[in-house]
Symmetry: D2
Subunit: 224 residues, 4 copies
Amino acid sequence: MTTALIIGAGSGLSASLARKLHQRGHRIILASRDTSDLSGLASETNAVLVDCNARDRDDMARLFDTVDAHGPLDVAIYNPSARLRGSVETLDPETVENAILVSAYGAFLMAHHAAKRMLDQGSGAMLFTGASAGVKGFANSSTFAMGKFALRGLCQSLARELHPKNIHIGHFVIDGGIAKDPADNPEYRMLDPDAIALSYVHFLDQHPSSWAWEIELRPQAEKF
Amino acid sequence: MTTALIIGAGSGLSASLARKLHQRGHRIILASRDTSDLSGLASETNAVLVDCNARDRDDMARLFDTVDAHGPLDVAIYNPSARLRGSVETLDPETVENAILVSAYGAFLMAHHAAKRMLDQGSGAMLFTGASAGVKGFANSSTFAMGKFALRGLCQSLARELHPKNIHIGHFVIDGGIAKDPADNPEYRMLDPDAIALSYVHFLDQHPSSWAWEIELRPQAEKF
Amino acid sequence: MTTALIIGAGSGLSASLARKLHQRGHRIILASRDTSDLSGLASETNAVLVDCNARDRDDMARLFDTVDAHGPLDVAIYNPSARLRGSVETLDPETVENAILVSAYGAFLMAHHAAKRMLDQGSGAMLFTGASAGVKGFANSSTFAMGKFALRGLCQSLARELHPKNIHIGHFVIDGGIAKDPADNPEYRMLDPDAIALSYVHFLDQHPSSWAWEIELRPQAEKF
Amino acid sequence: MTTALIIGAGSGLSASLARKLHQRGHRIILASRDTSDLSGLASETNAVLVDCNARDRDDMARLFDTVDAHGPLDVAIYNPSARLRGSVETLDPETVENAILVSAYGAFLMAHHAAKRMLDQGSGAMLFTGASAGVKGFANSSTFAMGKFALRGLCQSLARELHPKNIHIGHFVIDGGIAKDPADNPEYRMLDPDAIALSYVHFLDQHPSSWAWEIELRPQAEKF
């Protein structure tokens, strides 16, 4: 049984992904800064829970010790991000530093540890949740722009580096809000987490002769 | 039974698409400048064959008359393109004009006629085969760059225009050669047409809350 | 005395460029579909006037015969474009074809003829007026998107092809309206043609060790 | 007399910029982690030297105290970056964190402090030195990709935020090596620092009706 790791497991998207990957037969590991609300999802998907601050080097090293205890790592997914709004002169510099590290540096840490394992076994996939802020820098959003552009740069670099080594990189540009309750999403104004997850899984199903490294997803009515 | 139209039906990718869409229950219409080699595919997929020069206004109007005779148009796919290599001062201007019209203007003609029908019925999907030349203008490839950039501009414009009206646009950036014989594709150096077609079909399966308009596909070993 | 050719000479930007290039000591050739309004500018800049439909192969061949009669071609500028608005199903296909050819194919014709001359002499510059429509495909603007994306693809391809041969390509993404009367441009809501021309001239002044091929220009208040 | 601040002052590009801005009448402030080699440039350009680690919040706060002692800040330039090569699984995580902070977070700190001052006075310009790594993520260069993509995201966000407030943002994509000795640069294989500086100064000369926020510069022979 191969393992699927989901970091930033507290979101609705992570829950959809956990369910789909569980159905596909993966052993699920859910990592989050605070796993106290995740016991329901964990029992539903038979998942292991790990407390972990994604930007913390020691936490991430420990997380991958846990991963190693559960068999080969087939899929690693990075979801955390820190959004911060405000004009550049008013932002608190310390909060900005933390936000960049959560959005991008934590993703590097995952890639660093996951690549070691996947290169050894000769296969694997890493999927990263980006945002429209990673392809367009909006006013009063300099921090989120830095974090999400950095994440995209990381993924593009990793695709060039790891695709030839049979490790598949996916960067998902989520453009729009994600519905908290998919049943309450009139006119599909928000992205349905299950619908997003369908595209993540498509990347896992792509054949090595025809890999993508990026896709932009948005509601059909979204302006862009 | 809904109809799936494939223009530029003579390629291996078109054959893969025809088979997949036939399996999904669509009535297939295959259009090509020369359909004389397509009788095998046509009988395999129970398809209608139409001779048609995609850049010719009259031909395309006639093609859609045939489409109308076979029920609602659910999927329209545009594959033709004209590549021309050579430094800009050596190219034959008349050949260049024709190449641009085949690569981009024919796609507009399909979109023009298909949109009329899909807007009336309130749904549909149009898929366009692009190339890396549509996102990167290579030396000695000015003609192909013009044609494929124009195609991409058309698709991006149509996505903004038609997605809110429930018509799904897909632009596929094919980066690499397509294998003529998928059984002879060592190390997946070329794109397998069936593997490409899987991503076309994924677009048809996306939920309106999470639509993409573009994806880049390449062999895992391809430099980019 | 070297020659500077300006195609699409009827615009305010072309007038600014003609004056600046005249001041820099170039012999000016102004080409336009209709030169009847250009006699004032021609006498001010001591320019030759040529009637020419930029998308017409014969007209463009004749234009370069005139160019040859006036000495080495140092600078060639392409300004014509055809904008067309409307949803894709309502556009007139014949008008669309003409618009694409004016926006992009005419630029190819200029590049084709100018490259022959500039390659022989071992130097030169070609500058092309693009638009935000060339980097973003807007709804109800599929025709302009095709034309301006194609123009950008042409320029990027030419930059890769001709920069190493000492021919400088410039693609100017004009994002916003151009002021008809610069004295009536409150809060700089529109681009001042003289201000645009300053950046065109900057490209001519760049050193071969540090060439750009593209720049986006917009009013400081413009949303983008 | 207005002030021009150059952070990362130890490079050849910074020396060229210091000379040009000094000639234009600015009071020059040169900041660097190590200013011990900068006394020659400082006396040539009558500059103030400040020791400063650009990613350090306290250092940067102190730097701007010094700036305030020398009059209104008209131009602020950010040059530091940390390149790190190696495959993702081999990189040292602590070194990676530092590199991201130097390439991008220090630029944020400059923007944060400079914006306060420039917004108060109603004008100013901030120029940032990017790299091709900020638009293309290369293999074995994940760290530099993260830093330079983040820098570009910051600049694009700041352009949208601050251009309407009369503060001009410039992001310079330097694609190629910078010549240490411009006299030894056969066939212009590297960028000449004086030639680069010419484009920085062009941004300062642009009119508010026609501002750019980005330009890519490379040797005419550079592949891209």
